[in-house]
Symmetry: C2
């Protein structure tokens, strides 16, 4: 088992990474659960049948455990499902000394975390991620739900009291989900860990390679990047914004696709390639686009996905992004690995590049 | 103009109390509004026609000002209106550097504050209370909305950046609202300011007396009690719980009445008399119930209001209160003025007293 500590201004908490951890959850979570009155496991219709009973059986000697299951899929990150979760909290009799366990992927972690942040003005929660993507979202305390007009527009910062990452749960993931999560790992490598980036380039040349034994080391390195950045800037007033590398266009594409056909990581991967092109175009850098595109394509990422959408509509969505300020477009760009920076970018430059991609010209 | 500073672990902010402050809002709020991109004034259908234009006219030289109005009344403190508010934030183009102004009573402050706490994971807000009740709720950072199953079950701690309290706005309040707000002032006096309590007993013997010139001094003393307690315990892990004096039964009665016939302060006033009876019954104290009841009755409070409801139903609601822990009933009691304490109380003792009141026996 690997362990790291996330140390933020509001809370310090452990992240456990390893095989079979769900079975050890009573031991690992004992410090968190001490003195708690009840636990509510929040999970989705894909995950609950696989793991909820394991968690319940492990924890029930310590405290009463309830379960609330909601439909799998990003569509559930809605105000409607949020209200259902709050109702479940009340029906389960949770009080201020209860704890919510988020058992699932990023959708569950974000929604259950937001429920924990706002039930009775905030109760404890534990992240139990079961997807590769959730290695990123389970650390750092960003919680939230989607508004019909934009992703993650409703939310709060609320740190978990522990993250329990049982890598055995990843075995049930389809390839699409492996790629989705791996994109955030690549992103962490690009913005803050050249050593990890070199290892990934060398050792991972296909989706199958992502599942190798070395995954656990990669996970630890990747989550350490996240933890370091969150430690420095919990509320995203500075360096934490770099974690949005690839996300400005990525979010806009996800919205344009109806949060359906494109996974988050696929959109982010395409967004990273776009950020490199943009950075080159604005003469901040000299990325070898052909080289990067070849690697991303070998890994199965749809790097040209943006060309399926209307450029003007993508730009409009980006202007409504949380990272925007008064309608200005702000991008995370990078001049080289480990050299990210924030740049205000003109609408016309983005439109120009998007139109070129649409014409197949870039 | 009176001024006090609220100093919490998360933020320090000024409270301004005085006449004509809405007209001076540009000057008083200039430090808060500096660097902000936009302002959204959130108000209700009673308050907006009276004061929204004054605020807009005052602030528009500083930044663009939008207005969102929702129906007056506690019923608007709902998830449905919350969603409308979030939509209004998006339509107004608010970003992370925008500010929400809550112009209205406690309902507006709580809802707009919760919107500010959760829009893009938290933006700035300013309380502009226009009721006497809001002297209490506008300080301390408790924000939230109601769930169909309970009051304030959804919410967050989020401190405003300033409180602007124009006492001219109180002139439009009906007597029922004066009484509602005054109950919280009496509560502050009971739990932490015997000097204020003596002055109130001497100078205020009717609803008309509440409107006297000395109100501003009372307000300052009352809000200082609140600020002192919040400073000591922002997250309600200790002494802040004393502010719930009268609220456990009060909330249950409000719920039983459908948040309609009984104002918050009326319910709290009845709850305080009940807390005194309970404290006497459990032999913690020797309150002169007849004396206290006579004063409360002269001020117009329905001290026997609980007798209109089913005792068992009130107890059931109290067990679901946020302050409850694992279904135990916890009350704030007081052995004397300035001597509040928390007590676990047996269900049967509460039922006994409620049944006595129903029979007219107490």
């Amino acid at each position: 088992m690997e362990k790291l500590i996330v140390d933020t201004s509001s809370r310090e908490y452990p992240v456990y990474i390893g095989e079979g951890l769900l079975h050890q959850s009573a031991d690992l979570l004992a410090p968190v659960l001490e003195g708690k009155t009840k636990a509510l496991v929040i999970s989705d219709s894909n995950t609950a049948p696989l793991y909820a009973e394991t968690v319940r059986t492990a924890l029930e000697p310590l405290l009463p455990v309830h379960l609330h299951t909601l439909p799998a899929g990003e569509q559930s990150k809605s105000l409607e499902e949020y209200e259902q979760v709050m109702t479940a909290c009340i029906h389960a009799g949770l009080d201020r000394h209860s704890v919510i366990l988020a058992l699932g992927g990023g959708m569950i972690g974000d929604l259950a975390g937001f429920a924990a942040a706002t039930y009775m003005r905030g109760i404890s929660f534990v992240q139990v991620p079961t997807t590769l993507l959730a290695q990123d979202s389970s650390v750092g305390g960003k919680t939230g739900i989607n508004h019909p007009l934009g992703k993650n527009l409703i939310g709060a910062f609320h740190q978990p009291e522990a993250v329990l990452y049982d890598t055995d749960t990843l075995s049930s993931l389809p390839d699409k989900e492996w790629r989705s999560g791996f994109a955030e790992m690549i992103k962490h490598a690009f913005i803050k860990d050249s050593n990890l980036l070199s290892r990934l380039r060398t050792e991972v040349q296909s989706t199958e390679d992502m599942k190798k034994e070395s995954l656990k080391q990669f996970l630890r390195q990747s989550m350490t990047v996240k933890a370091d950045i969150v430690k420095e800037d919990e509320r995203e007033t500075g360096v934490r914004a770099f974690l949005n590398y690839g996300h400005t266009l990525g979010h806009a594409m996800e919205k344009a696709s109806g949060y359906n056909n494109l996974t988050h990581g696929e959109a982010v991967a395409a967004g990273m390639i776009f950020a490199m092109k943009l950075s080159n175009y604005l003469q901040y850098s000299n990325w070898d686009i052909a080289y990067e595109t070849a690697w991303f394509t070998a890994l199965g990422y749809p790097v040209e996905a943006a060309s399926a959408f209307e450029p003007a509509a993508l730009v409009e969505t980006m202007k409504n992004d949380k990272k925007a300020r008064a309608g200005e477009l702000t991008f995370v760009l990078a001049s080289a690995p480990e050299r990210p920076f924030l740049a205000k970018v003109k609408e016309r430059d983005i439109l120009h590049l998007l139109l070129e991609m649409k014409k197949g010209g870039s």
